[in-house]
Amino acid sequence: AQPVLRVGIFQDVTREAIEATDFLKGTPYRIEWARLNGAGPTVQALGGNAIDISWGLSDTAAPKASSEDRRNWTAETAPIKLIGLLAPVDSKRYSPMLVIASKASGVTKISDLRGRTYAFNEGGNANAVGLLALDKAGLNVKDVKLRLLTYDATAPAVVAGAVDAAPATRSRVADALASGAVRELATENEVGFPGFVSVTARTGALKDPQLSEAIGDFMTRLARYLNWAATHDAETAAAYAKAQQLTPDQALFAAKSGAYRLVPVKHDGAPFKAEVEATKKLGEIGFYPRPVDFSTVVDDRYTAQIEAGNR
């Protein structure tokens, strides 16, 4: 029988956009999609054998889970591993994550945040960016009034002035930025966050030869598709307009800011080094409760397949 590859995603539009193209046609395996709301459920689904790979899980999720477990994972015991990184195509203009402040707060730079309210949702990349931003300005969480909010509530809270500043996803605050209700303090790259998301696999799936092969094929196709999509905003935008009821402008913006390339996690590559660097930093400033060795949650076996797809 045909093997089944179960792929976790975060937004339906991801699936709709790729299925509108031919990149996944004729796979020797069947793909089952699972939309999961957030990093927590995704990690659980991977760990609980509900999905095989996640497309789009934040790069900090696996190291975070390792450092939060009773003991740090080793390369052998890690139940999930990053098998590829997704790098923003245009991180200058469409840097996915940035730190914003509400206009009313009068905050213009990060160092102004001392004694002010500062919000993020705990555990995810926003948390990491939030801490790195403070660190960059020589502050730590004790210098601000921390407000932990849900992901959904963070941006509205800044816009409404309920908190002074917060890390946020650019696409969520684009309108508010344009109207001047909030102002940009820093992008993720500026504060030293690599800004990758990942393709993360269940270790059990990697050990299964049939599935592993399927994943390899999928990685090639994914890399090809992403390269194509980066130059075909209009098509992706159409998917956004359909799935999320966006206006053409909004959809185009979402497509551009959602454009990524798939890069391997091989140990000598720049992305890997950036990640190791960031992981060390995040361990120091307390995002990870224990120092983590990034290489324990990485499997670079698909380097060749990814590079094939990128050619």
Partner: protein, 284 residues
Amino acid sequence: MSTLPTPRRNGHANLRVFKTRAASSKRQVSTRELTRLIFPLALLLIWQFAATAGWIDSHVLEAPLDVAAALVDLARSGVLWDSLVASLQRAVAGFLIGGGIGLVLGLVAGLSRIGERTYDALLQMLRMIPFLALIPLFVIWFGVDEKPKILLIAIACVFPVYLNTFSGVRHVDAKLVEAAQVFGVSRAAIALQIVLPLAMPSILVGVRYAMGTALLALVAAEQVNATSGIGYLALNPRAALRTDIILGVVLVYSLLGLTIDALLRAAERIALPWRRTLNEERRR
């Protein structure tokens, strides 16, 4: 019990007379039912008026008409309809399973102390488990298909029905049950033909609540691998930016609430015919 008339002070009181029979005709009653909607509609009007007059910042609260517009958009694109169908299927399935289990467990525990001793404490423990916290476990245990969703809804529905059935059964007039015992009515017949109907007012409260719970549990259930559904719409990451869509979904839920209310009122009239006669009599 109908409205209490104002007590009269010392002296004399005229007798009340109802001149015409027509006053209590069917049509009259259903018009009266509609007066229930006056207040919600009035609130809606005030809200719209305040929004139009600019007293409410649209960032804080969108005007009803804008909300309606967002809903119309959703409806036109077919999303709303698909979501409703997908969600209602899940909700109904979960409600039937959970409500059925709650009813049976409540009936048995209410009727027999052995049943109560066996599982009442367990259910009192289980009912406190926040189903939101169960989502991770459910993903691990049951994967990401329909199963965990329906199960989650079913679990949420068990408890309101169970609690109300149990209490309703326990407070059925023991004298009536005694009479039935004396006349040799079987335990099953006592349970089904006497206790169940008499506990029905209480059970229907549980059902009413469970129907609501089923829809609420959707919001949690549809966080996992749902591509449509009103729960999904409610927490759609996209929707978080648009208060008009959030409020639109809220409005959809409210209307479902009204529908459930109407259903349950009808069910009450059908399930409690002996009360209906009395109330109508008394209302005159």
